[in-house]
Amino acid sequence: MSDLSFENDPAPRLSREDIARRAAKFLPNNSIVNLGIGIPSLCANYLPTDIDIYYQAETGLLGFKELYPKGKGDPNIMDASGNFPVNIPRLVFFDSIESFNMIRGGHIDITVLGGLQVSGNGDLSNWMIPSRGIGSIGGAMDLAENTPNVIIAMEHTTTKNIPKIVEKCTYPLTSKNCVNLIVTDVAIIEVKYNSDINAKLILRETAPHWKIEDIQKITNTEIFEK
């Protein structure tokens, strides 16, 4: 259950961990996956034991699994969140040129990223809050634009219950028409593309006791039954 609760909610929203657990179900065995900072990075904790993922990090790392607890580990084996993965005997190291050949070339199967806003046609904003005026792009634009399967794992609204799934993103964009799936604390929504740029949001799952009408109320663009 989430820290967030709003008076009109039909039932509690799920926690960050629950979002990660639900997103993790979409990672097939043996796939190459890049996890963004925040909720996405939690997905690694919720994989079924029979699923083996090759995580890629922008730092130039492939094949890691467990992270050392804070304060331990080797700074020469780092993921993009600044964590130190355990040096298991299947890691591959490479430089940033190769790391982004891999990303920009579309060789990563799936990326799970955080989101500030996602639009009805699959646009993503996740790198800057306009009021701050400065933000960090990092690898997010390369990943969102070039990965065949982009999953956004985020809360459905802000802490002030302002919808993050919107008709048109008002925050600076990360990439257009890039999102394939949105996993939130109340819903799992597929972005179904009719063409490269036209999409429809299809509701695939809801949190317990949430109905499509409840979800529509906190979503600023139309969502459809599957």
């Binding site: 993009a80 982004f100 690898g139 390369d142």
Partner: protein
């Protein structure tokens, strides 16, 4: 014969860096692969109006990003604190959190420096191109975003791309584990990051290393930067507390 690439002092190795120089700083962000001693020497040397080019920049001092817990982090913030920076070109200049405010954000807020944010893959490719005779390339990263503003757009095979230009610099400060006397460099793990690309892209490349060995003592299959790209080599003191 004297080996003109070997320097005994970090300060000596960078003393021709002048006001207005452009300087690449290697690594990814965090302590692994960061030329921390060269950075401290550059701060001590004190040239002003610098253009700094690096990837993740200035977030370790506020968040501990990529540093072990038992040591106070050093990052690009030291140049901002010292008022040496005119502009920074990077992919990740601020952490998600807004407090405490980093030196870069502080400097940007007060209008003391310009911050140019470039997607990480585009940044490293621009640097690589500068070193490899390619003046410009097309990428789809950034299309439809503020990154594409005022850039040439072009369609290849039905997809939209933007033109990005090579990014060279005057100096590259890089970090490796070992160097041989010719400047062939061996890296460890993810400490490669931006170091190999930056090594190729500047007029003068200076490598901070843990160890200097004789020619042939690095396994040739493990050389990450061939010595042709390295102009100066400086060895850290044994037992240096910085990773």
């Amino acid at each position: 014969m004297k080996n003109e690439k070997l320097y005994n002092s970090f300060l000596d190795s960078i003393k021709d860096i002048k006001n207005g120089s452009s300087i690449m700083i290697g690594g990814f962000g965090g302590s692994g692969g960061q030329p921390t001693r060269l950075m401290l020497a550059l701060r001590d040397l004190g040239p002003k109006n610098l253009t700094i080019i690096s990837n993740v920049a200035g977030i370790s001092t506020t968040t501990g990003y990529g540093w072990p817990e038992n040591i106070t982090p050093i990052d690009q913030g030291i140049f901002f604190e010292a008022g040496q920076v005119k502009k920074i070109i990077c992919s990740f200049p601020v952490p998600g959190t807004t407090k405490p405010i980093s030196e870069i954000e502080k400097s940007w807020k007060t209008g003391n420096c310009e911050v140019e944010i470039i997607p990480q893959g585009t940044l490293v490719e621009k640097i690589r191109c500068a070193g490899s005779g390619i003046p410009a390339f097309y990428t789809s990263t950034g299309v439809g975003t503020i990154v594409s503003q005022n850039k040439e757009h072009r369609i290849f095979n039905g997809r939209k791309y933007i033109l990005e230009k090579a990014l060279p610099a005057d100096f590259s400060l890089i970090r490796a584990n070992k160097s041989d006397t010719f400047g062939n460099l061996e890296y460890i793990g993810t400490s490669r990051a931006f170091n190999p690309a930056m090594a190729t892209a500047s007029k003068i490349t200076i490598a901070e290393v843990n160890e200097i060995v004789e020619l042939g003592e690095i396994d040739p299959e493990k050389i990450g930067t061939p010595g042709v790209y390295v102009n100066r080599i400086v060895k850290r003191k044994p037992g240096d507390p910085y990773p």
